[in-house]
Amino acid sequence: MSSYSYAAPTSVDEAVEVLATNAASGQRTQCLAGGTDVLVQMSSVDREPRLLVDVKHIEETNAIDIGNNEIYIGAAIPSAILNENEELKALLPGLIESADLIGSTQIQGRASIGGNLCNSSPAGDTIPALIAVGAQCVIAGPDGTREVATEDFITGVGTNCMSDSEFLLGLKIPRPGARTSDAYLRFIPRTEMDIAVAGAGVALTLDENGVCTAARVSIGAVAPTALLVQEAADALIGTNVDDVALQAAADACSAAASPISDKRGTVVYRRKVVGVLCKRAGAIARDRASA
């Protein structure tokens, strides 16, 4: 029986080489940032030995860069550190909230947005929030880096567009302009420690009169992957994001959802609640944008 091994590359090139070499040898590889999903899988779901590549000792996975046009967030930065960054929190409150919702304080100390994305669960909390703010995933591989929109990054339940020799470096997010903000809400049965039963992220821009000029709405845990719901955005654009518009957006989210019934919720429940979350998150984003 083969055994586990561990590598902690300190540069992108080194990481890419480790991944490529291991992929070529036919060995299984798994990248690790905070490890809060990976270690659970190793101990309970899938014990098969593999090479663990720890990607958090690389400068690019740990950088935060708030530029005039673009914000870069390294893939391996723990949620707790993001949450301590007041500038980031002011610019992208919904996204940072979504990262802050993942697990306990303990999990926050390790779990990263990049890991949440790479785990590619339908219920990952940061994913709808990332889609809403239009995040691009920066992927490093043997041929350099490439960028993929978050909504295209995830390809199915637990799968994404990266090959065995690629890894996620970070996320690029357009810097929100004036009167632009976002919000993310999820529903869980308890107040903490659960996986989202449904989630909704809303990012929007208002003009001076409070009319919505741009919006992105994304929903999670109600389909095999998080969805960008254009119809919901359309329901908000051109309105004052009042109750009528929010209800229309909510209905669009409910219509777009194709959930399953499982131990966390039923089809009917998820479909209804995802609309409620869209409505409530939309109102929060509106209030933030007009503040």
Partner: protein, 742 residues
């Protein structure tokens, strides 16, 4: 019992003797022991809810480097093929998802885990029985082809292991006299005790056939006798050393790993350590019963209850033993009734064998009846406390299960509720408030204790009741009170099976009552000896000596020019007066006083998501006499939150094949700190006449009322009733939608 005397120690809140070790990480729990040369054992568990085992081949596992032993059911003594033995390791059939099938011992836990994947088991999958409705239906598959209800083989085999009935008067006549009749059918899901420490043990068998087991248990003596039975060994050949125990709530009153570990130790000649994963704890240890209860109650317009019936069906899991007895005893215990009928059914299903869980059986049946009583109060337009006050059991009431109640505290709790500021406060806006009564009869049983006096007068209590919630502090307080010496000079220890006299398992809220009584009697033994020693020293008769405030003194009127002798004085000279001071007591405690409670929950409901927020919770309970009030409050608060978790979100979720889908703390959702408000408590003290200080057990009762209290609160908030638990968001939202569409 002692008159209300001026108590010095009892009723104070000192720091527990085992506290320091527990806040510094030094306390040793079940998994904390490692021995030289130790192997690690792991268990292969059934992936099927019901299947015949056609073959088990461990050869590939044994071939793995580091694997020393691999065993299955056939390697265990034939004689151990009773329910307990078969639950510990399956023989010809697996009876639930998670049922143990084989075990390995290896040089590391990692290797043992890997080896499990190399054990080849061939199954013939059988149709499982997964609910009470299915189990009771015609043509249901049989969990056990040899099971006949109450052992009556003249009747066909059935999934009902036992049926019992309690009745009084004429219920038909009673209902005929009623102006209002309330009827309902209530379901409560399977709930797990959820102790944070998984089961763990280390076992070492010597070549002479004597073995030692270190384990986390509520009862080292039961581990000894049960393990001996399963392995067909003499009870006295096994020594069981209980570790500190990381929660039990009834779930650690039986055995799972111990015989397997000891058996593999015998086979390998090396100690074997076994620790369950959390997933194993959920899938394979005993939760409590899922239930279906029908409650019917009738009353006159003035609120007089004329008749009540309860039909209870409890899932036993794959082996008989659901707590229908206590369920039946409790369901109508708060009410003084002329006409009632209570039926209980112990129903086999292909799920883990249930085990005790805090007031086993009472929360489920009383959920049904206390919801029915709440509906009755609404129908009669009566205050729910007034309705209960009108019908409540009191001293002299003949309990439904037979005995006449001595003084009990139900009325006092109801009165305290009415007077409580939280009850007088308005309920939450757009929310609801629900109240319910809780009850547990409490038990006594066998205990022994020794009190040993050191050369300097220091006191050591040695007893055999594993301490789950601070009972050693209570023992020290009772000893302090009895001996009249400071609490700080006393220490209490839980001995192993060879270091202390026999004690029944910690459970049923018996420890502070029964073992406490043994400690008090052992202290009285010490006092008697001290008086003797003082008499000897002073050249007086023993009946001329008194014991006052921790000292021997001449009785008033006795003419003796002597200074009082303290315990320390007597201990220092004990060598000259007859040898070391050693007090002992053993007893079978009678008269465990029943403990009643009244609880109320204040909730808010998010009608768009079905989420229930508990805004406030208040628990009032009769403790008889609170020895250490902080730990009594702790029992009330902990039980309340367990009950709230059960009411709100906790449940076993099985798929159609009977595979548990939420075997972890992620999806078996016990309350977290942010879910809960502060739990307000008020201790009522109606002394138990059968205990020297008036103690009633307090541990079980707190979990009973929160289920119905919360159901009733949600009923109050929504304006209609949801009969089943848990009141999880999907269930609540579905009910709201149905109501709106109706």
């Amino acid at each position: 019992m002692a008159e209300a005397v001026d108590l010095k120690a009892i009723g104070t809140r000192p720091i527990r003797p085992d506290g320091i070790e527990k806040v510094t990480g030094r306390a040793n729990f079940g998994a904390d022991l490692n021995l030289p040369g130790m192997l690690h054992g792991k268990i292969l568990r059934s992936p099927h809810a019901h299947a015949r085992i056609k073959s088990i081949d461990v050869s590939r596992a044994l071939a793995l480097d580091g694997v020393i032993s691999a065993v299955s059911g056939k390697d265990f003594p034939e004689k151990s093929g009773n329910d307990l033995g078969v639950n510990i390791i399956a023989r010809d059939k697996v009876l639930y998802d998670g049922h143990a099938v084989a075990a390995v011992a290896a040089t590391s836990a990692f290797v043992a885990e890997q080896a499990l994947a190399l054990i080849d088991v061939e199954y013939e999958v059988l149709e499982p029985v997964l609910s009470i409705d299915q189990a009771l239906s015609d043509n249901a598959p049989l969990v056990n082809e040899n099971n006949h209800t109450n052992g009556d083989t003249s009747k066909p085999a059935s999934n009902v292991a036992a049926y019992q009935i309690m009745s009084r008067g004429d219920v038909e006549k009673g209902f005929a006299e009623a102006d209002v009749i309330i009827e309902g059918e209530y379901r409560v899901p399977t709930a797990h005790q959820g102790y944070i420490e998984p089961h763990a043990c280390t076992a070492a068998m010597n070549e002479d056939g004597r073995g030692t087991i270190w384990c986390s248990t509520q009862g080292q003596f039961d581990v000894r006798s049960n393990t001996a039975a399963v392995l067909d060994k003499a009870v006295s050949s096994i020594r069981v050393i209980p570790s500190e125990i990381g929660g039990g709530f009834g779930g650690k009153t039986t055995i799972y790993l111990e015989p397997v570990a000891l058996h593999m130790s015998e086979l390998t000649g090396r100690p074997v350590k076994m620790v369950m994963s959390r997933e194993e704890v959920f899938r394979a240890t005993g939760p409590t019963s899922a239930t279906l209860c029908r409650a019917k109650v009738g009353a006159k317009k003035d609120g007089t209850i004329t008749a009540a019936t309860a039909w209870l069906a409890y899932e036993a899991g794959a082996f008989p033993g659901a707590p229908i007895g206590p369920g039946c005893m409790s369901v109508l215990a708060p009410y003084d009734l002329d006409n009632f009928k209570i039926e209980g059914n112990d129903v086999l299903v292909n799920k883990p064998k249930v085990c005790a869980y805090r007031a086993p059986g009472a929360p489920q049946s009383m959920h049904a009846m206390e919801c029915a009583i709440d509906e009755l109060a609404r129908e009669l337009d009566m205050d729910p406390i007034d309705l209960r006050m009108k019908n409540c059991s009191d001293e002299g009431t003949v309990a439904p299960y037979g005995p006449t109640f001595p003084p009990i505290g139900l009325k006092a709790c109801l009165e305290a509720t009415k007077a409580h500021p939280n009850y007088q406060k308005a309920k939450p806006e757009n929310g609801g408030r629900g109240i319910a009564v809780g009850f547990w009869f409490n038990i006594g049983m066998q205990s022994s204790a020794e009190v040993r006096i050191a050369e300097n007068g220091g006191v050591t209590i040695m007893e055999g009741s594993p301490d789950i919630g601070g009972s050693r502090a209570s023992m020290c307080l009772m000893a302090s009170e009895t001996l009249g010496i400071p609490y700080e000079q006393i220490n209490a220890h839980v001995g192993d099976t060879e270091g202390t006299g026999y004690c029944n398992t910690t459970g049923g809220s018996r420890t502070t009552f029964a073992t406490g009584m043994a400690v008090i009697q052992a202290c009285e033994d010490i006092i008697a000896q001290c008086k003797q020693r003082a008499a000897l020293t002073w050249d007086l008769d023993v009946d001329q000596v008194d014991w006052e405030d921790g000292q021997a003194v001449p009785k008033p009127g006795v003419n003796a020019d002597v200074s009082p002798l303290s315990l320390a004085d007597i201990a220092r000279s004990a060598g000259r007066t007859g040898g070391p001071l050693l007090g002992r007591a053993s007893l079978n405690a009678q008269g465990a006083g029943a403990s009643f409670s009244v609880n109320w929950t204040d909730v808010k409901v998010d009608k768009e998501t079905g989420r229930i927020d508990v805004k406030a919770f208040t628990a009032i309970q009769d403790a008889g006499k609170a020895i250490h009030p902080a730990y009594v409050e702790g029992q009330m608060q902990g039980g309340a939150v367990q009950g709230l978790g059960w009411a709100l979100n906790e449940e076993y979720i099985y798929n159609d094949d009977g595979i548990m889908e939420n075997a972890g703390f992620l999806d078996y959702r016990i309350p977290v700190a942010s879910d809960m408000p502060m739990i307000d408590t008020q201790i009522v003290e109606v002394p138990n006449p059968s205990h020297p200080y008036g103690v009633r057990g307090v541990g079980e009762t707190p979990i009973v009322a929160p289920l119905a209290a919360t159901s009733n609160a949600v009923r109050d908030a929504l304006g209609f009733r949801i009969y089943d638990l848990p009141l999880s968001p999907p269930r609540v939202l579905e009910a709201i939608d149905e109501q709106e569409n109706a």
